[in-house]
Amino acid sequence: MVTISVLVLLGLGLLTAAILAAASRVFHVSEDPRVAAVLEALPGANCGGCGFAGCEGYAKAVVTDPSLPPNRCCAGGAATAAKVSELTGKAAAASEAMHSFRRCNKRQGNVGLRYTYQGIPSCAAVAALADGAEMCSYSCLGYGDCVSSCPFDALSIRDGLAVVDEAACTGCGKCAEVCPRHVLELVPSRARVAVTCATLDKLKAVTEVCGVGCIKCLRCVKACPAKAVQLENGRIQIDHEKCLAHGDSCGQACVASCARKALCSLRPVLLEPLAKAEEKTA
């Protein structure tokens, strides 16, 4: 019996190893060794902030796609970007730090309530119920779907509005994904101006519900010397690349031009003190 059991198990072990060895030859899929190396360098949080399905997806893409920048991993930050760029031989383009930014100022605009909502405390749920509880169908809902989605605890709800902690925000974009109203969007941390309203409505439809809503008068579009401000898909969008490239010489013409300032306030740079310091030196 001893011999038979030893032989059977020996045979099984040999067979398994042989089949696996043969299979790993026959079914060998040549994989760039750099993929494994990049994967090793990534933090492995699988947060999806890079826009790929998990760290492995990004590792594969960044190795194979020459146009993909090595700094997409927001969780790892600059250190990871440096490692990835070293591994892929891509120049570490100055990593453009991004922030989440809320395009709504409903408190300032005095947006009223349609009804009192007492259901499940989730933005997705309230948004599905007669276009939300507020008069504006595009405002921040304030039930914090973004807060629970944030892997870095950078969001909180204050007075019914999502507030971004800019120091903690890594710009992974998770919140922008879950926000059912697309109130949150990513802007470069250096951005000089940003739109604080997300409405798709125009003119009277806006003025009726909100004191500070964008009415699409398009003055800002005309005022911008760099053609960085455009109406896209019914909302004013700023091409931050063009805007930053043009520099401060315009004196933020778009902000100045905004109809009654309060209506569609394009706000100065996120880091206001910095802007002020620049003004002083100028």
């Binding site: 089949i19 079914f27 405390p121």
Partner: protein, 191 residues
């Protein structure tokens, strides 16, 4: 045994997850969203059937003739582990779309006790090959059913206010308990 009865009993009455306690780790682990649950479910169906086929032949052509029944555990798990690794490599090369859909679940399946459990159960029940395969099919469908139902419940649960201490796994386990309670109502449907 009647094929229909075998099917109903393996899927509902003796559901491998909810009545026989097999495959609980993936049941709680892969039920976060329905897409994952369905992917895992199909991967398990595929592997359980393949594993049952291989282990059945192993049992009847090697273990029984040589009187090595006591080595069943080690032989079965080696066959399953090798099989899973082989299938993974095979799919990666030959059927990349299927690999993309099921691939990430395959390595997790070696330690899924449902696979090993079904392989051993059909030997203990002394089913013939066809019955074994039918049982494997039904049992793995039962697993998928439980998994997908659980994923549906948990997607709803996401939007509910749950006491802090209960959030996550505890509430999922209690939901599993209630589901198992519901499945107990099927008892008596088959003799």
């Amino acid at each position: 045994m009647d094929v229909f009865e075998l099917f109903i009993s393996a899927i509902f009455v003796n559901n491998i997850v909810l009545a026989q306690y097999l495959g609980n780790c993936p049941y709680l682990g892969c039920s976060r969203d329905k897409g994952t649950a369905i992917g895992m479910g199909f991967a398990v169906v595929f592997v359980i059937i393949m594993a049952t086929l291989c282990t059945w032949y192993m049992q009847h052509s090697v273990l029984v003739p040589f009187g090595l029944g006591y080595l069943q555990t080690i032989v079965f798990i080696l066959v399953i582990a090798g099989l899973v690794q082989f299938v993974e490599m095979f799919l990666k090369k030959m059927v990349p779309p299927l690999y993309a859909a099921l691939g990430i679940f395959l390595p997790l399946i070696t330690t899924n006790c449902a696979v090993m459990g079904v392989a051993i159960l059909v030997q203990r029940e002394e089913y013939d090959l066809v019955t074994s395969l039918l049982y494997a099919l039904a049992a793995s469908f039962g697993f998928m059913l439980a998994l997908v139902l659980m994923a549906g419940i948990r997607e709803r649960l996401e939007t509910c206010r749950v006491p802090r201490a209960m959030a996550g796994t505890p509430i999922a386990l209690i939901m599993a308990g209630l589901m198992s309670l519901a499945f107990m109502a099927f008892k008596g449907m088959t003799s």
